[in-house]
Amino acid sequence: MDNMDTNDLLLQSSDEEKGKKDVDNVKTKVSLQDTLFYTDALSENNINDIITTQRPELFVLFGLNDVGKTTFVGSLYHQLRIKGNMAEFEFVDSDTFAGLERRVFLRKCSKDGRSDTNRTTRSENPFLTLHMEHKITGRRLIVLSDRAGERYRDYISKNEELVKDKTIKYANRLLLFINAEELSGRPYSNMKDEFKMLLHRLKEKDMLPFNATKYIIFNKYDKVGDPENHILKDHEQEIINIIDEIFENEGIPQYRINSKDLDQNKELEELFSIIIKPLKTRDTDLALDWVNASIKNNK
């Protein structure tokens, strides 16, 4: 059941009904699956169907459960809907409005900050899309992968689950989420070990996107108490060192945010703007212009 598509879950009939329906039912199911007729989040089986002209940018929100990935997406979507634009890009469409609305629903929380709702489940489809448009550069498509943290937890102990992941390695941007609340408390040691193990296991299997742009996001920073606390600072640095070592890449930018609070939250807005802005595109290969390459060679 874990690996089922939400389309499967919606289309699934009870056993009794199943018995009554025949081949026509199977045909209907196949045709429904072939057609994206509603806007839930997409799965690995159908995310490629949305590509039209260029490969979209894939953002992978990476982290164990309870680090605020879904809240982050819900807040991003909320801001885009309220403001209509971000970083000079207008939010014009999505293939996954229902999936995004569900993230907003999941980020609802009570006054003590605890979530009122169930969190993203293992069977939830991970892919959400944002069609953005720039006045000069035109349209671009962003695909967000918001997978349940439990799935990442499974990767630590279940090899068969780990090797099924087809997303992380192909990320253009990898957003590494850490629950800042856990940095100064008792669960820190456990959390650090699990996070380190998860990254090591992915590296062992060559499943990390070494060329992706990476961001270290210490989320729920409003809950850390004294941000100058030396234990907190030491633990933050330990996490940064683990990530740097795994990716053999020093200087990955770090962000300290509270993705839940949308009121005058400059840190969060700044991070949203950074990720919405396109990455610097590669320079065009001069060899494609064979005429000028030839002129140059003959000079």
Binding site: Q54, R55, T284, L288
Partner: protein, 314 residues
Amino acid sequence: MNAMLKEMLNCVLIIPYEEDMISRLITINKKYADRANRQIIEDCVSAFVCGTRNDALTSFFTEQYIGLYGEKLVLPQVVFYILSEYVVYFLIMDSESPCTNSDKMMYSLIVRNMMLIRKDSYNKLLAPEFIPPMYSVADQYRKEKCQMEEDSDSKITPEIFESKNFVDMNFNLSEDHFQEIKRLSQKAEIWDYKELINNIKLKYKDKSPFILAYFSAKLLAVTPRWKYVDSNPEKTLMNILGSNLKKKKLENIKAEVMECDEYKSIDSKSKSSVLLAYMNSTENFAEIGNLNFSKLEFAIYIYYELFLEEQIKD
């Protein structure tokens, strides 16, 4: 070649296809490549360069897939563009390609000529890194074909200069003399080509740079009987035209060239002869009218379009 197609597809896919799927697509690709001809290649190149739907390839893949694997093939349109690119890449570059070197040269020129449409928008290409390796196949072929025949024992010259016929020379023409005759013919053709270059310089010296560019390219591509007399046409055009890089809009170049009394429209057979088609009608490739060309760029594109047209025998 599985790795190659996988790499190409990964340029457009968010999640890569499984190896099994890649193998299936390769199997169908080989079947499609077996029936390839110039028109099929032109449709493929038009798909991955210009983003034109390749209905023939799409239907073939869809029908073959259901026939071979009993499943309906549903792929995004961009994947068919990549499959089109892969077919061409396979035919030009792969050691298992069923094409002759001459076919490969023509397909390589089709790719080069069609790329004119992307002159100012190379960033719109889906898997661009696989394109430049296909260019060089045409140059390699030219390099082989422009080789002078090796010098052999001279049996025809100098006697022929003082004789009226072979009897006079006491000479029986046979296969033994082929090498020498070929070399003499090549030398004669080179001489004529040099004359042609000098005549072009003289005839068009007072004409505008783009008229000089057009007629230089046309005459150099069409006139020689030995089509590979010039090992480096770009260099020859540079020598005739000089290095002025001032650019002009294509629609203005077209107007200027067409005003010239000597201009006659040229019917083109290949879809990749984009400039020739544009010169013939405002409806053909109207979008390229705003592209800017230097006289040298314009001449090189025209030369290779005409050169390819000369090679097309069907």
